[in-house]
């Protein structure tokens, strides 16, 4: 699908700029040009498609649907899937949390949404396709959704309501089923300009991270020998996954910044499952996220939340290493 782009990058670097093929600089630059253009194309496509889906399933509609319908366990699947569809912005996680609680949606279901939202989103999907291919992407998305479901379900069973901040418990007491939304009927063509603008906004907001990420990745690609990391983090080392995850939890980056670097780690010999688990820990959990959640929950609940998710990310890391 991207052969033409590889040809273009080869021509640009090796012929036009006349940098020797096989040299460290040449390989780094070639990788940078190829990866940047490929990722931008995919980013635009996926963001636009997700924007269309999102325009028809805005978060208010999802909340009201979950609030009004008895779904016999399926609500975890829906909440987690919707978490994947909704564009993630860390500053929205608290309003979302309260909005869900207010609508009388069980805490576990709310958590399912909250877990998947940063893990799976349009930016992560676009970069994943570009870097690891379709098969790995499908596996990543489905495991992100399953992780949200199971994590939410487990957290829901722990009766954690008493560990919410007092004012949130008050909201919980006054929770009521949401009434119907007045939904503006708009044709697809009417929706397009806004979808387009939103997509461009998302791309603009991650562009810098993507380019810096690919830049670092390109340098590593050119200058670190293949198989370099194998000596340190091999598939056989049983502690590699938990260590990578625990190391990744306090760190924060969005998928855009961390994936280009992960890709190079994998090329240089780190098992893909370990790398993905690390990435999940980085984008899904972080100290900034914890401080945001502090507004709605006690430290104890945050600790429980983080431990449960960390545990499941470690498990998925092992699974990825077996499956991929």
């Amino acid at each position: 699908m991207f052969d033409w782009l590889q040809n273009f990058s080869d021509w640009l670097i090796y012929s036009f700029f006349d940098i020797a093929q096989g040299s460290k600089l040449g390989d780094s630059l070639n990788f940078f040009v190829y990866d940047t253009i490929k990722i931008l194309i995919l980013l635009f496509l996926i963001t636009f498609i997700m924007g269309i889906v999102n325009s028809y399933f805005p978060v208010d509609k999802i909340r009201n649907y979950l609030s009004r319908n008895k779904l016999f366990g399926l609500e975890y699947l829906f909440a987690s899937t919707f978490g994947a569809i909704t564009p993630f912005c860390s500053c929205s996680s608290v309003p979302l949390f309260i909005g869900f609680v207010k609508g009388g949606i069980p805490l576990g279901v709310t958590f399912a949404f909250l877990i998947t939202s940063p893990l799976v989103n349009e930016v992560a999907i676009a970069l994943f396709i570009g870097m690891f291919g379709l098969k790995a992407t499908i596996l990543y998305v489905s495991s992100g959704i399953i992780l949200g479901m199971i994590g939410g379900f487990v957290l829901g069973k722990l009766n954690l309501e008493k560990h919410l901040s007092p004012w949130v418990q008050q909201v919980l007491l006054n929770a009521e089923k949401e009434s119907d939304l007045e939904i503006e009927k708009q044709s697809f063509v009417q929706r397009l300009p806004l979808i387009f603008r939103e997509a461009m906004g998302i791309i603009r907001s991650v562009l810098l991270y993507v380019i810096i990420g690919i830049g670092i990745g390109a340098l590593m690609h050119g200058f670190i020998p293949t198989g370099f990391f194998e000596n340190y983090i091999s598939k056989e080392n049983p502690f590699a996954v938990p260590l990578a995850v625990i190391f990744g939890v306090p760190m924060y980056s969005n998928a855009a910044g961390v994936l280009p670097i992960i890709q190079v780690f994998v090329q240089k010999g780190i098992p893909i499952g370990t790398a993905i688990a690390f990435m999940m820990a980085v984008v899904g959990l972080s100290i900034p996220e914890a401080t945001l959640l502090k507004k709605v929950m006690t430290w104890k609940l945050i600790a429980i939340f983080f431990s449960v998710i960390t545990f499941f990310i470690i498990i998925s890391g092992y699974l990825f290493n077996i499956l991929l």
Binding site: V59, C89, S90, S92, P95, I98, G99, F100, G201
Partner: protein, 77 residues
């Protein structure tokens, strides 16, 4: 006199919205007060789930994205 509130916990998008609103007011000589609401409890009273949001005279006009200047002008009419 219009009362404009920008709801947002302080992320980049919220700041962009506030700036855009102030630009529109200045350019069009609109008589309005602009208040940035950052307290999450107060924000939630408006029953929104995505920030930033633009509130004009206590009515939520736009939520979840940074509005363009023409949209803001429209919301202020």
């Amino acid at each position: 006199l219009k009362t404009i509130k920008i709801l947002g916990t302080g992320c980049a998008k919220c700041k962009a919205t506030e700036q855009a609103v102030r630009n529109v007011i200045a350019k069009n000589n609109i008589d309005a007060t602009v208040e940035k609401v950052e307290d999450i409890q107060k924000i939630m009273e408006y029953n929104i789930m995505s920030t930033p949001a633009l509130v004009v005279d206590e009515i939520v006009k736009i939520k979840g994205r940074v509005p363009s200047e023409s949209e803001i002008l429209e919301a202020l009419k």
